[in-house]
């Protein structure tokens, strides 16, 4: 299909604005730009058709099965979109007098409190704009905590080899060095290896629980003892909280700092890659370091914004992605205590149901229930047929399903990570089970066909090497 620049015709107009009814002003010529502004010129119908066509070439949760592991692609309730669009939330200026935004501050304060309860933390900032941004914020809190105790030697952050790539990247941005620890046979943190690396230089261990393999870290109490015993802190990457919310809390597992992804666990939409929101919770010993302002309820029942005493400083402008908070609060309010727990239960049920019905062909960790997601290794199939995890993923596209996460975590060969989420229905899961079993058979019958998949998609496999070697990253008029 055409780029919007390619349907542009000089002189076409779409949106129009009122002519100013005051005298024209003029700026000195030396400040003015020369040449034309290369923006599309389209009519309103051109505009509507172009963006409708683009949307038809996008695939969202509303389009179908979206088991993208680690991303928690649950349904995004429509009511949340409507409330976030209410004029009282969209047409308010961030620097209005606080007495005129009591509703907005109440949204923030209520959400902060709810998230603190769900995670078992004492204080929460909503400011970070995404999960990785939350990690960065949490690690700065940890740095500030050690520094305030004049414990300057703690320069290292321990990260398991199964961790999300953002973990080590965030720790480096926050000025730490990384120590990687291997996984043990049960795919948990290798305790021996952990004991060997902890010490006076340990600032923190970053952990996802359930891990990126979709397994609950059974040794969490022992891990907590090792880290805290060495004077370090325990950081919870909340990417997988959907599996356990309402059932077990990071705070009760021994974690000191946690970030959440409102765009995963709390149903706010991903929007093709954001905006997300990555609130950070912490235990009271770290609360004074949180980035402000945060919302607070006064004794008289009104709301206000306050700065934290020894804040690490701001990590984003204003108060973060406020519109995302409105959606998340609407979600939590609708679900309530029981609803939140049942999300976790059904997320785990759906994952185990899918796993139980394909694991004879799609091998995964044996003898254990998975949590909200599971990782299969297609190495054996690849050895036998040449068909890779990638080929399976692309074949799923032909059948109208979004593929699972591929080639992650890095410790599993030919990995596919399935996360169906709690909002998926049984009928779809049954269809997918049937499709995956057929795809497996196909790998033996016609591997070459699968290696060239997808055959019925918008495009065939793109040449990624060419894209990186001869980068074309913007439209240029011919």
């Amino acid at each position: 299909m055409n780029l919007i620049f390619e349907i542009s015709e000089q002189g076409k107009r779409c949106a129009t604005i009122r002519k100013p009814d005051v005298q024209k002003s003029s700026l000195a010529k030396k400040y003015l730009r020369s040449g034309n502004l290369e923006l599309p010129e389209v009519s309103e119908v051109d505009f509507a058709r172009h963006y409708t066509a683009l949307s038809r070439r996008a695939f969202g949760v509303d389009n179908g099965f979206y088991p993208l592991g680690s991303c928690t692609m649950k349904y995004n309730p429509k009511i949340n979109e409507e409330v976030a669009g209410l004029e009282g939330f969209t047409r308010i200026h961030p620097l209005q007098p606080q007495s005129t935004v009591q509703g907005a501050l109440e949204v923030m304060e209520t959400l902060q409190r709810d998230l603190a309860e769900i995670t078992g933390m004492d204080a929460v900032t909503l400011q970070p704009n995404a999960g990785a941004h939350g990690e960065y914020t949490g690690l700065q809190l940890i740095a500030a905590y050690h520094t305030a105790r004049k414990d300057f030697k703690r320069t290292k952050v321990i990260v398991p080899d199964s961790a999300h790539g953002t973990n080590p990247a965030s720790a480096v941005m926050a000025g730490f060095e990384i120590i990687n620890v291997p996984s043990d046979e049960e795919k948990g943190v290798d305790l021996k290896a952990l004991k060997a690396v902890v010490g006076e230089d340990t600032a923190a261990l970053m952990l996802t629980n359930p891990t990126t393999l979709g397994l609950f870290e059974k040794n969490i109490k022992e891990i907590s003892k090792i880290i805290h015993g060495a004077g370090g802190l325990l950081y919870y990457d909340g990417a997988n909280l959907n599996a356990v919310m309402g059932i077990v809390r990071p705070g009760d597992m021994g974690f000191d700092v946690v970030h959440l992804n409102l765009h995963k666990t709390f149903s706010t939409p991903h929007g093709g890659g954001g905006p997300g929101s990555g609130p950070v919770g912490c235990k009271k010993e770290l609360a004074a370091f949180l980035p402000g302002p945060i919302a607070e309820k006064t004794a008289r029942g009104s709301y206000r914004l306050v700065e934290c005493k020894k804040s690490i400083g701001k990590v984003a402008s204003f108060y973060g992605n406020f519109g995302v908070y409105v959606r998340a609060l609407a979600y939590i309010v609708t679900l309530g205590a029981e609803g939140i727990k049942s999300c976790a239960q059904h997320a785990v049920l759906n994952a185990n149901y899918l796993k139980a019905n394909i694991e004879d062909l799609y091998p995964t960790e044996k003898g254990r229930h998975c949590m909200h997601e599971f990782v299969v290794s297609m190495q054996e199939l690849k050895d036998k047929t040449g068909v890779s995890a990638m080929d399976i993923a692309k074949t799923m596209i032909d059948r109208g399903y979004h593929p699972p996460t591929m080639y992650f975590p890095l410790i599993i060969h030919e990995a596919l990570m399935f996360e169906p989420t709690e909002t998926e229905n049984k009928r779809t899961l049954d269809e997918v089970i049937k499709a995956l079993r057929e795809i497996y058979e196909e790998a033996f019958k016609d591997p070459e066909y699968m290696k060239a998949a997808p055959h019925h998609a918008q495009i065939g496999r793109p040449d990624e090497v060419r894209a990186a070697r001869q980068p074309i990253v913007k439209y240029t008029k011919e």
Partner: protein
């Protein structure tokens, strides 16, 4: 009450049987019993109707002003219906990052078009798919410019306060020194800048227009930065770029800014979108997603996430930035806004803003609010007055007008956009004239 599940009790039972367990609880056997929570201390769930009523009531506790004369980083602009309408298509809203190019060409192409438009506005060669907001874009630019021997970041105390705060946070623990120079008459002091830059300077960061609305002599600032061997980073208001020299024309190596004015509501500060563009020389240091054009195996045009060797999921601790989720949906809205306005429309918006701002400045002068700074301005300016700022702003508030932002007891930062009329401004000025 609602929980968005789609499994009946009967199906749940069938599924448990298929797994080979008796209860949902059994699936959680790996979790130590003593760690488990009894019950969350949260209210019971609500029906959707009750949620709507509850959230609506909260929204009504916020005051929506008829007339807004405040900017300072968040701007009230007209948002065309077609932008709101087409952006609300659920395929855009409910999609993830386009990892699977074969079924995400729509999202990828939208990002490619966004990148192209950011390049048009800024004159730069390469744009990323967005970062969190303008402040974070400036902080990421600082990290891009930092080198082993060049670790000093130089700017003026006339950039947005939030941007400066975020920059200072990001400089921490990285050995980066942030040098903040005092402006002269509100604008960049070139003499002070010349004295401040040197062999250790990584970059000079300038906002155009600056926080006080003044148009800076950006080319001169860029020359001083480059003479010292440092990079030049410009933070821009995207609407102003319809009129003002592009960052490329001013010699910038990196252009950043907040895209909120491009069709995104003020929404109490977010979500907004940080745009970031650079010269091709800097491309491989740029953080965030970048979409590139290529071909599929049949030679058809195709779009993919590219240059991923820069990113955290490949490089882990060696990545230039940890950014993963960005503000893609806001970037889509911004690109729709630019398409809807077109070059002529965007210019008209920018001109309308300057016309109303200049009319307001002149009218305020007549009632004793004189401009503090001499230089030319875009759509914001600072006044000083004998009458206290609080008194003025309170009087306006009573009439449903959100006045400018109080900077000090007697200084106010005003903003005007195309949403205003002469009658709005006359009314505001008349009210101020009566304040004693």
């Amino acid at each position: 009450m609602a929980n968005y599940l789609s499994t009946t009790e009967r199906e749940t039972k069938e599924m448990l049987e298929s797994i080979g367990v008796k209860s949902l609880d059994e699936l959680f056997d790996d979790i130590p019993k003593d760690l488990r929570l009894k019950k969350l201390d949260l209210p019971e769930g609500k029906s959707q109707q009750e949620t709507m009523e509850y959230m609506r009531a909260l929204s009504k506790k916020n005051k929506v002003y008829d007339v807004i004369l405040r900017g300072a980083g968040s701007y009230d602009h007209y948002i065309p219906s077609m932008v709101k309408n087409l952006a609300s298509r659920s395929e855009f809203i409910t999609a993830y990052t386009p990892y699977q190019a074969e079924m995400s060409q729509g999202i990828l192409q939208a990002i490619f078009e966004y990148q192209s438009m950011v390049c048009s506005l800024t004159g730069m060669d390469v744009s990323n798919a967005s970062v969190y907001n303008g402040a974070n874009a400036a902080a990421e630019a600082m990290l891009m410019c930092t080198e082993k021997t060049r670790k000093t970041f130089v700017t003026f105390d006339n950039i947005r306060p939030d941007t400066l705060k975020v920059i200072k946070t990001y400089a921490k623990r990285r050995g980066i020194e942030v040098k903040v120079l005092s402006p002269k008459d509100g604008a960049a002091d070139l003499k002070a800048l010349k004295a401040a830059v040197g062999e250790d300077t990584s970059c000079v960061y300038l906002e155009q227009p600056n926080y006080f609305g003044l148009i800076e002599d950006a080319e001169e600032v860029g020359k001083i930065a480059h003479d010292a061997g440092a990079k030049f980073v410009m933070g821009c208001n995207p609407i102003s770029l319809a009129l003002l020299k592009s960052p490329a024309e001013c010699g910038a190596d990196i252009a950043v800014g907040d895209g909120q004015p491009l069709g995104l509501p003020m929404a109490f500060g977010g979500p907004y979108v940080g745009f970031m563009a650079c010269t091709s020389k800097e491309m491989r240091k740029m953080p965030g997603r970048i979409v590139g054009e290529t071909v599929d195996h049949d030679g058809n045009r195709a779009y993919v996430l590219t240059l991923q060797a820069r990113e955290q999921h490949i490089r882990r601790e060696k990545a230039f930035s940890n950014i993963c989720s960005n503000q893609a949906y806001c970037a889509l809205v911004a690109s729709m806004y630019l398409s809807a306005m077109g070059p002529q429309g965007l210019k008209e918006v920018a001109e309308s803003c300057t016309d109303y701002a200049h009319y307001l400045a002149a009218a305020l002068e007549k009632v004793g609010l004189k401009r503090r700074d001499k230089g030319e301005f875009f759509h914001e300016f600072v006044t000083v007055s004998e009458t206290g700022a609080d008194k003025i702003l309170k009087a306006l508030d009573r009439a449903g007008i959100l006045g400018g932002l109080k900077l000090s007891e007697h200084e106010i930062l005003w903003c005007a956009t195309e949403t205003l009329t002469k009658a709005d401004l006359d009314k505001a000025v008349e009210i101020i004239g009566r304040v004693k």
